[in-house]
């Protein structure tokens, strides 16, 4: 990305932060809180997620067979099934259905798949007027915009915006103001359209292949009307919507509304086997026509899906039920919405998979970098899709350009990564931050003076896109590993120690904040742990976050080689930086052989988790520092996803502190993200709620380095790691 395009991105984001952002933020955070409440109170949640995942895995595997089954079932009922290869094919079929009945108007219920096909344009082209009947979609249609959210298409607009739009368009005698007035008007207006429509078009949330039964989930009731009123019903669904039978619906119906809006169930879940037996109301002729006159067409859409099914990394995208939970739980999405965090059709974290699959990689490249890999969406997804991984893979593919094998031997010799020559310099810089830090530390403090100089900052911004408003990390002169060697190594001998552990010297702890590592060593030794701090390479977190998977894999292999002898000797691995622990615990599953990953994951612990474990095994808390008073603690996104926030809270409390935590999803820094010129404003905006939350706190601690950097810059006070408080 050039300096100029970084500035354009920054300007676009800044504009959205001021306009659509506040509307999105209020609703997305509200929906997210609803989801959390609904799912935490729901005992079967995890079991149903596993069921839903299993059903989807099986169904996607069996798509060709399910297509044949559903064709047989629907045709036996007198309906038609059309398998459309791509958008143009699907649109041609829909046009021909409309032409056959001389349709003048068509009413639609909400369907992202028809947005993907741009079926409305095709209808207009064929002389058919399409009307969106979901109120949010209707607003977006009137405004000629794209949906800003999978579930709430007009979420980016305030009530006042919508009133202005309706007043402008319909010019009522009394201008609309309240949501009640607008809803009543639009309901009547669309009611007329539905009663006179020649064709009703719906999507389908799920299609049970063996009976041709489809599930439609809405709160407004418009899908029911669109399916039952006009004499022709066209349902458009991606092939991934097929499930084997009606009995497979239960986990999805139970999960979908909770994940989407926090509702136990949506108002209307239609389970229809079209063509339905409901007589056709002919409002013009004022008579009911027999149900047998109703035509039904199921348009199943491929449009890239069958290729996604063959793609080991994109396949999971097809499990998506379009609930929007990944958007709602995403700190960046909450601030900018889908008009920045989205492609041609789809929005939010999962959009990268959809856009890459149905519209192509370039469509995903527009917004893919807004996923910071924080993983807050992972536990929010009702079908357990590894959304950050999909984002990483697509980023990697974009880095590699059109030729995945592109490799430049000369450049390869000059930089310490495994990436292609054309890789974006900003990504290459942040992906190689371990090397930058190693050199920077070796040359400190000169490197710090140089880097802080105005000409250097200007050059870094222009060439590398490092925003000059950010304070750069100050490299420490003596690294954590050197400090440990200089002090003479372990003070608790291995024989006779309660446990034996390696403290992993992550890049930041080693070169920028050795005090975190020193505190970890003191705390562990106080708890009778034999400690070692060997030199171990960077975990690969930084390159992975830039989509540099080959480099991350190489790092993972080196880390494993360095730690394996310690694992062989029965030593635990203790990690200070949560994002590095998440590498060992989760991401290495994708980067290392299964047995190597499992062994490292099973032996790795977050530092406070480890202290908690020692205290639970009768170690004396009196050997740690005594705390009193309040501590405001911000955990770390990946730490929360790993369910490790509680351990730190418990340890701080055991030491005597009164702990307050924040329920703000993310600090906004997300590793290198907040340093990037094009994302600096967004990063600061994301951090604002957290800064507000902690504005009056006397003592703030944070587990992640970048969280601490963000808090320090927003609060203008140091935010140490909790271990620094606990250590004696």
């Amino acid at each position: 990305m050039s300096s100029e395009s970084r500035r354009e991105t920054a300007a676009k984001i800044r504009a959205l932060l001021d306009t659509e952002g506040p509307n999105i933020e209020a609703q997305a955070r509200d929906l997210n809180a609803g989801r959390v409440e609904a799912t935490e109170a729901f005992a079967e949640y995890e079991a149903l997620r596993s069921d839903a995942r299993r059903i989807k895995e099986d169904a996607i595997e069996r798509i060709p067979e399910l297509v044949d089954t559903v064709r047989e079932a629907v045709e036996a009922r007198g309906g038609h099934v059309y398998l459309a290869e791509d958008a143009a094919d699907a649109n041609r079929y829909v046009q021909s259905v409309c032409e056959d009945v001389d349709a003048e108007t068509l009413v639609k219920s909400k369907s992202m798949t028809t947005e993907e096909l741009e079926v409305n344009d095709a209808l207009v082209e064929a002389g058919v007027d399409p009307y969106e009947t979901d109120l949010g979609e209707f607003v977006v249609q009137l405004a000629d915009e794209s949906p800003s959210h999978l579930v709430g298409p007009a979420m980016h607009r305030s009530r006042e915006d919508i009133a202005a739009l309706l007043n402008d368009h319909f010019d009522p005698d009394e201008p609309f103001e309240s949501a009640d007035e607008m809803t009543a008007f639009v309901r009547d207006y669309l009611g007329d359209r539905i009663r006179e429509a020649d064709v009703g078009m719906t999507g389908a949330n799920f299609v049970a292949a063996d009976s041709g039964t489809m599930a439609l989930v809405t709160n407004e009731g418009n899908a029911r009307k669109c399916a039952a009123t006009p004499p022709v019903h066209v349902a458009v669904a991606g092939v991934e919507k097929l499930i084997p039978s009606v009995s497979d619906l239960e986990p999805f119906v139970a999960l979908l509304s909770k994940a989407a809006t926090g509702q136990a169930i949506s108002q209307y879940v239609s389970v229809l086997s079209p063509p339905v037996d409901t007589p056709i109301p002919d409002f013009d002729g004022d008579e009911f026509r027999p149900a047998d006159d109703r035509a039904f067409h199921l348009v199943l859409v491929d449009n890239g899906r069958m290729a996604m099914r063959e793609d080991d990394d994109l396949r999971e995208t097809l499990y998506c039920v379009r609930c929007g939970a990944c958007s709602n739980s995403c700190a960046n999405f909450q601030q900018v919405g889908g008009h920045a965090f989205g492609g041609e059709t789809y929005t939010g974290g999962i959009a990268t998979g959809w856009e890459a699959g149905v519209h192509g990689q370039d469509a995903a490249g527009e917004f893919n970098d807004l996923c910071t890999g924080c993983t807050r969406c992972v536990n929010a997804c009702p079908v357990k899709i590894d959304i950050p991984w999909i984002n990483t893979v697509v980023r990697d593919r974009i880095n590699r350009g059109d030729d995945p094998g592109r490799f430049d031997a000369l450049v390869d010799g000059l930089v310490p990564d495994e990436e292609p020559a054309g890789l974006d310099l900003q990504k290459r810089f942040f992906g190689n931050v371990h090397t930058v830090a190693r050199v920077g530390s070796a040359l400190a403090p000169v490197s710090n003076w140089l880097a802080a100089s105005a000409p250097a900052r200007a050059a870094m911004e222009r060439v590398l896109g490092v925003d000059r408003r950010r304070d750069l990390p100050q490299f420490a002169r003596e690294s954590f590993v050197d400090w440990f060697d200089d002090r003479g190594g372990a003070r608790v001998p291995e024989p006779g120690a309660a446990r034996s552990a390696v403290v992993y010297p992550d890049t930041y702890t080693n070169y920028v904040s050795p005090e975190r590592g020193k505190a970890a060593v003191r705390a562990l030794e106080a708890l009778d742990v034999h400690v070692r701090v060997p030199a171990v390479p960077g975990s690969g977190r930084a390159p992975l976050s830039q989509g540099m998977i080959a480099t991350a894999r190489s790092n993972a292999e080196h880390v494993h080689d360095a730690l394996a002898p310690h694992l062989d000797a029965g030593r635990d691995v203790v990690v200070v930086e949560p994002s590095d622990l998440a590498m060992f615990a989760s991401d290495y599953e994708r980067l290392l052989p299964a047995d190597a990953h499992e062994r490292l994951a099973d032996s790795s612990y977050e530092i406070c988790e480890y202290v908690y474990g020692r205290l639970s095994n009768d170690a004396d808390p009196g050997s740690l520092a005594a705390l009193d008073g309040d501590v405001a603690y911000h955990s770390h996104c990946q730490q929360r996803t790993l369910d490790l926030e509680a351990h730190t809270v418990a340890v701080l409390e055991t030491c005597g502190a009164t702990v307050r935590t924040s329920d703000v999803e993310c600090c906004g820094m997300a590793g290198s993200f907040g340093y990037k010129e094009q994302y600096y404003d967004l990063s600061v905006d994301v951090g604002a709620p957290l800064a507000d939350d902690f504005a009056t706190a006397d003592r703030v601690v944070a587990s992640g380095t970048s969280c601490a950097d963000q808090l320090e810059s927003l609060l203008d006070a140091r935010a140490p790691h909790p271990i620094e408080l606990i250590a004696p």
Partner: protein, 181 residues
């Protein structure tokens, strides 16, 4: 011994209330009168699934314009889902789907013996209906709603208010205290 069906009916009523749905529980003999009390004319209706007739004020021979003009629609509910307060309304040849959807008030008539505990039980029942060829239903929970206009509004494309006439037929179907268990 607690009859689980009784617990379900109590839970169902609580769930209806949480979903903003009013209800009245009556004996079979009073069902017609309870429906009469619940409707606001003009009313259209379709045959219900309990052994009671619809009151004379309910138009069962309606035209599309009658449907459009009706204030109340009376339909059967084939199941009630206790955990959610959902009503399973058929979508069939009498036009139940339209009657439950178009008028601003929906009165559903449900036999207490048709209350099932949860979605799992309802899905099992639904699968058996599909297998038997009776295969189109809607789970309706509460009233039609939207937040798309900038604030939550009730009554969009579907009814603004919903009332359930719960017909207590359980003595006849679920075994009573006088039989030997």
């Amino acid at each position: 011994m607690t009859d689980p069906a009784i617990d379900h009916v109590d839970a169902f009523r609580a769930s209806l209330e949480a979903a903003g749905v009013t209800h009245e529980t009556v004996a079979l003999g009073e069902a017609t009168a309870a429906i009469e009390r619940a409707v606001e004319e003009p009313t259209v209706g379709v045959p219900v699934h309990v052994d009671a007739s619809l009151p004379a004020s309910v138009d069962t021979e309606f035209s599309p314009s009658d449907l459009h003009a009706a204030t109340t629609g009376v339909t059967p509910a084939r199941l009630g889902v206790a955990a959610l307060g959902s009503l399973l309304v058929p979508s069939g040849e009498h036009g139940d789907e339209l009657v439950a959807l178009y008028p601003e008030r929906h009165v559903a008539v449900l036999a207490a013996s048709d209350v099932v505990p949860d979605l799992d039980a309802a899905t099992d029942w639904l699968q058996s209906e599909v297998d038997a060829g009776r295969d189109s239903y809607v789970f309706a929970t509460g009233v039609s709603a939207t937040a798309d206009m900038g604030a939550l509004v009730e009554g969009v494309h579907g009814p603004t208010n919903v009332h359930v006439v719960l017909v207590d037929d359980r003595e006849a179907t679920s075994g009573d205290d006088t039989t030997n268990a």
